[in-house]
Amino acid sequence: MTGTVFDIGYQNYTGTREGRSRSRKAVYKDGIRTALGLGRGARAKILPWFFLFALSAIALVMALIAGAVERIGGPGSAAKANLPTHSDYNGIASIIIFVFAALVGPELLCRDKRDGVINLYLVRPLTGSDYIVARWAAFMSVMTVAALLPQIILFLGLCGGDPLPAEYFTKHWLDIPRFLLAGVAMAAYATTLSMLTASFTSRRAYAAVFLVGLFVITTPFTIGLAQEVEGAGGQWISMFNLTNIPVHVNDVIFGEVSEITSEAPARLLAAWVRVSWYFAWTLIPAGVLWSNWAKPAPFAQTGILIDEPLDDSLLPRLPGTLDSRSAIIVDLDGADAVYAGVALADRGFHPVPLFNGTQGPSPVVDVAPLVETLGRGARRVRDNRPMPNAAPAFLLDARRQSGTARPGMYDNRWVTLPQDFPSGTLLASRGIRSAMLLQRGPAHVPEDLAHVLRRWQEQGLRLTTVDLDTGNQSNIKVSRPSWFRLAWYAAVTVMGLRRSNVGGFGSTVPEETSRGGYYG
């Protein structure tokens, strides 16, 4: 029987298209394959598999030694000999884990940039954030395996090497969640620093050398300096030993001081300080890695007085219930906030503009009308000469967080912070006992303003909201956000209000195809 092969020609694809979720999974899967050299030549496999083997070998040797001591010296002799175990493993292996992260992690980002594959990813149904999060997650997975596999080998080895394995398991089963947690902490730290460094260069060697140098140099430098400086200063210098940062967390988790940190003055700092320090060194680089733009500081870039008068017909009718000894927060859209501020100045308040007036090319928030109105209103307010003891009226643009920043646009969005306002205590010392939020529509407290009002509330100020359209007034109580929301807000604030890797405050969102610099 003979077969015939037919060329059925090009077939259009009519199956399912799974969109972004499939794209993310594909980039994640490819990240794991890249990190482990799968589907690549033999050379690409050497480094990752060597390190995985080396890390496992350390654990295996530790288990074999402990087993041998137990067999020769009898049950409990390994513990009496104070042989290293799970709590010590991360300290012993930390430098190898970091070198692994330094050499292998950059492969996931640098090669995409150097080969130009990033240009292909970003024209597919995938955002810059999807890409970087998927790459981070891929390397985190590999690092987690690298950190946990040896601990599992060690546990099995210690269990099997003990003359009474079941008894060993019963006594030490709590080590399992501890080493899992400590391993994940170690992996997250190494992954984040490695990926952050890699995001700045398209050459893997530069990233690797920088990272290895960072770990190798900070260790002797901080040890030496910490010995010279005694007390709290020495302890804090010791905290800059980057190799030890996750090991301190390991110590906190196990409740012991491991060999590597036993001489470090930082071990004397409170556990929460060491854990917070770890989170700072992990979350902030993660934020820098993820964020390709920075939130601008609120300031107005006008510096001009416009002689043309304001159109009085646009000034809002203020409610008659305004208390002249209340601090007012005007939260209205753009120029409306300025008009309200001028109207409040006419009523004896002192307007305090808190705007971001930076327009830039292709701005996310169009502030041109606001800036122009501010220029006109400034002359009128100046001519009115507000009284020095007038109650303040803080003017905010309610659109400050609206819009979507896309590549090529100037991101001039911003948030307001408690430090933009005087404290409730200071206001109270000037005879101001209440604060009024002037808005349009139903009462709602924006997330950023809630942190301001909650502090004022705690400091004794009574809070009310007023609907500018209806004049309806209601008392409000700002509840304390959950610890999670507080931590998230703090993290966003810290990470958002810093200079990004591509520019200063209020920067242009970079083009996705600009090679060598963009991870959104």
């Binding site: 090009y10 199956g15 799974e18 980039v27």
Partner: protein, 305 residues
């Protein structure tokens, strides 16, 4: 599902793109339907900027761009239905073509098993089936260009953007690539927008043409019409050149000296009739007469932009 013939696939309306002090595009508007459309322009004319705006990678300073009925700026979903072949290198050297294409198909949203099938099919159609398991780093320039085209087609897009697809290819490789582009539309049913600074490439491959210069739209329309408008006749005579010029000008023909010969504007039948009559009148022995296309730079000079 393919858009119906004649449907506007891409629409650019009054698009301006300003990069600091440089205006890359200035109030450009056009519509593209199915078929192969070429964007012709010198380096820096704004071809790549147009493609990036249509892909949603750049935001226009003003104006709007729509792709397959969607705003280009809401492009994440649209990108699943378009392909893009960049001008510059974009291929990993270490992996095989089949692995790379499978991966890119998955990144475009195809399930893994379908991605593998599509990768093999696409490589077969591009003539790379036998080489599919070799690392891309070992490919010739022409093969790499074909892999670049394959990655743009692997998810079976409705529309594909090709940015200078013949760049860096020798004449044989260029011809193969142009054939593949024609096949992309004719056999695969995928519409193409293809940028080039080589007029011959666009003329041989495209149905329609968009000409840009310095960010301005110079021409948009059918290639045949453009060719007709831009063709000239080159004449070389042994003697009586000045008499011939005078005779042509008397007949209302635009003629300009061109080296040792003359270039006559237009290429329709009446021009040839005028040339014949002028040659007889001037008693000028004809050595050579041939239709000739204007160089791109001449076209731009003519446009006066």
């Amino acid at each position: 599902m393919r858009p119906a013939p004649g449907t506007a696939l891409l629409t650019i309306e009054h698009v301006t793109k300003q990069y600091k002090s440089v205006r890359a595009l200035d109030d450009v508007s056009f519509t593209i339907t199915d078929g192969i459309t070429g964007i012709l322009g010198e380096n820096g004319a704004g071809k790549s900027t147009i493609i990036k705006i249509l892909l949603g990678l750049l935001q226009p300073t003003s104006g709007s761009a729509r792709v397959l009925g969607y705003s280009a700026s809401d492009s994440v979903a649209v990108r699943a239905r378009v392909g893009y072949m960049p001008e510059h290198d974009c291929l990993p050297s270490q992996v095989s073509a089949t692995e790379f294409l499978t991966h890119m198909a998955e990144v475009s949203g195809l399930p893994p098993d379908m991605a593998r099938t599509r990768a093999a099919d696409t490589l077969r159609h591009a003539g790379l089936f036998e080489e599919r398991y070799r690392a891309i780093g070992g490919y010739s320039t022409g093969m790499k260009q074909r892999v670049k085209l394959c990655q743009a087609l692997v998810h079976d897009p409705a529309f594909v953007f090709l940015d200078e697809p013949t760049a860096g290819l020798d004449p044989a490789g260029r011809e193969e690539m142009l054939q593949l582009i024609r096949k992309t539309h004719r056999d695969f049913g995928i519409s193409v927008l293809f940028s080039s600074h080589l007029m011959a490439d666009v003329e041989r491959t495209c149905d329609r043409i968009i000409v840009l210069q310095g960010g301005h739209l110079v021409h948009a329309g059918e290639v045949a019409q453009f060719t007709k408008e831009t063709e000239t006749v080159f004449i070389e005579v042994d003697t009586n050149r000045e008499q011939l010029v005078a005779a042509l000008q008397r007949r209302g023909v635009t003629v300009t000296p061109d080296g040792g010969g003359l270039t006559v504007q237009g290429s329709d039948e009446s021009v040839y009739d005028h040339v014949r009559d002028a040659l007889v009148e001037a008693q000028a022995p004809l050595r050579r007469m041939a239709p000739r296309r204007r160089e791109l730079t001449e076209l731009f000079e003519r446009s006066g932009t």
